[in-house]
């Protein structure tokens, strides 16, 4: 009896695992299949294997209106956002970590609040602001607006790394006659290089997947990948083969980022609340 019950549980767990795997990967498998579907072949028809083609990939990769300008836009915006975020977060996080004054603590906590708010409440004035300074439709304008997402996260992450460093080495350097700026720039910043790498990648990721600001602040020439993908849908079902190829290409930077970030993902998502 007991072994029978046990094997029933095992079969049940097996079925759940099977379902979970199917649920997780079937959209990806489906994308791969239709990315090779030939003209006129419905991806679900039995004729499909006879009509496989590389034409869709050719069009997206080098022949037609390729994906590369949009990929380049995304990489430039993400890189710029990450660089500006680091430049702001490094000194900010260092100050929050080492000088726990009342004002500092209050500002630091308020960043959490800014991370949680609905960004639609900021969008209208930001749109006017970008228009006023001629940044509407520019990649720089989008990068600047992405600071809304990345600066709170960047500061919280970097503070975590500065907290880990501890003040002992810095105090030793101060005793040896270095000034505070030298201690920060020559000792703390180099020592926190791994944390900077994680913070840069994570803020890049946030910018790379962002949609709301991108859809408002970019124009055709500066579309980032998410906006490009969504723009396909306007024409609906006509371009499904190209949508499939383009979606698969957007996965590549994500795979690279996740490979590096792995253990730091949860920390980044929760702003360090869970390690």
């Amino acid at each position: 009896m007991k072994s029978k019950k046990k094997s029933a549980i095992l079969v049940g767990i097996g079925a759940i695992i099977f379902l979970a795997i199917t649920w997780s990967i079937f959209p990806l498998v489906y994308l791969w299949i239709i990315s090779f579907a030939g003209l006129g072949a419905l991806p679900t028809s039995l004729e499909l294997p006879k009509r496989l083609t590389l034409a869709n990939w050719k069009e997206v990769l080098y022949a037609g209106e390729t994906i590369w300008p949009y990929m380049l836009n995304s990489l430039i915006v993400g890189g710029t956002t990450a660089a500006i975020t680091l430049a702001i977060a490094l000194p900010g996080a260092y100050s929050f970590s080492r000088y726990k004054t009342k004002a500092n603590n209050a500002i630091f906590t308020s960043l959490l609040f800014f991370r949680m708010m609905p960004y639609i409440s900021l969008v209208i004035p930001l749109f006017f602001m970008m228009e006023k300074y001629g940044l509407l439709g520019s990649r720089l304008g989008l990068s600047l607006s992405h600071l809304v997402y990345t600066v709170p996260v960047g500061i919280w992450l970097m503070k975590g790394y500065f907290d880990l460093l501890g003040p002992e080495i810095e105090e030793a350097a101060l005793v040896d006659g270095a000034n505070k700026f030298q201690v920060f720039w020559r000792i703390s910043v180099p020592l926190s290089a791994p944390g900077m790498a994680v913070t840069a990648m994570f803020t890049f990721l946030l910018s790379y997947i962002e949609f709301l600001f991108a859809v408002i602040l970019t124009r055709k020439l500066t579309f980032t990948l998410p906006v490009r993908l969504a723009a396909y849908m306007d024409i609906h079902e006509t371009y499904w083969r190209l949508i499939a190829c383009s979606s698969i290409i957007t996965l590549i930077p994500m795979i690279i980022l996740f490979a590096f970030l792995q253990r730091h993902l949860v920390r980044g998502f929760t702003m360090g609340a869970i390690k």
């Binding site: 997780s24 959209p27 900010g92 949680m116 209208i124 930001l126 600071l147 949508i243 499939a244």
Partner: protein, 288 residues
């Protein structure tokens, strides 16, 4: 002596942070609040309405329905996220050879940027090309217009959101589960507790802080949902998939009613604040 001549170094270092907070949070938020009292469009210009602006918006049934729909969306999506995420975490928290691969497979949807998840699921739901209709036809249920129907559009978008973001909740819960002390579990095992009892009386209470963090973060993230509706249904058909972000976007940037959009955006902001306050209070009380 040294202290008096010392440079206020730590204040200087947060100046860039303050500039960003001022320019990109405080100023836009204040400006939205200010504009919320006006009717403001490129054609008719700016006109002060005061609180009338609010009473107009709040007596608009479409807007109230959208608020409710938005909250239902948060409840369902986050609830299912937590359930599936917890299931995944319990299934995979013991490291074994097969489990490591399973963990990677379960996380695959997170590799999709939200816009890619949205277009992929639009294809899956497609009337002619969609895999879902294909299966329904095989088992004899016939084809459906999933996204263009007032009845199925909203759940269909929810499924996409759940698919794309469950791995995120899963990773948080898995990290929490792995950091639990093993002694209480071992003690329960020695006492002969069943798997369910172990979960309900030992694991769940210890996991509460982690679940709280995941719920608060994911709820507010889901509250501002935009990309799925915008890409898959544009809020339609009718207003059946309209949420606050898409409605405000449409008012401000399609109909150019910046004042009306700002009034709605201010209310959306207040609701989000109330939601986070509500969730944090619940979890704080539970923990006592």
């Amino acid at each position: 002596m040294i202290k008096r001549t010392e440079f206020p170094f730590h204040y200087l270092m947060i100046v860039p942070t303050l500039v960003v907070v001022g320019m990109f949070f405080v100023y836009p938020l204040a400006q939205t609040f200010y504009l919320s009292f006006f009717s403001y469009s490129p054609i008719y210009g700016k006109k002060f309405l005061g609180l009338t602006a609010y009473s107009r918006v709040l007596s608009d049934k479409t807007f109230i329905d959208t608020i409710l729909r938005n909250l239902i969306y948060v409840g369902v999506v986050v609830g299912v996220n937590l359930l599936i995420g917890m299931g995944y975490a319990l299934l995979t928290y013991k490291a074994a050879r097969g489990i490591r691969i399973l963990r990677i497979i379960l996380v695959i949807p997170i590799l999709f940027i939200p816009a890619a998840a949205a277009v992929t699921w639009s294809l899956l739901y497609g009337e002619q090309i969609g895999l879902i209709n294909h299966f329904l036809e095989i088992i004899g249920l016939g084809r459906r217009t999933w996204l263009a129907s007032g009845r199925t559009g909203f759940p269909a978008v929810m499924v996409t959101d759940i698919w794309g973001w469950t791995p995120f909740v899963y990773l948080i819960l898995l990290a929490g589960l792995q950091s639990l002390p093993v002694e209480p579990l071992e003690a329960a095992e020695i006492d002969g507790a069943s798997s369910f009892k172990k979960f309900w009386y030992v694991i769940l209470p210890m996991m509460k802080p982690v679940i709280a963090v995941a719920t608060v973060i994911k709820s507010l993230e889901t509250f501002r949902t935009f990309v799925f509706m915008w890409t898959m249904t544009m809020g339609g058909p009718g207003d059946s998939t309209q949420v606050l972000s898409t409605l405000i976007f449409a008012k401000a940037f399609r109909q150019f009613k910046y004042g009306l959009g700002s009034t709605m955006a201010t209310i959306a902001f207040l609701i989000a604040m109330a939601l986070s306050f509500f969730l944090i209070t619940i979890f704080k009380e539970r923990q006592r």
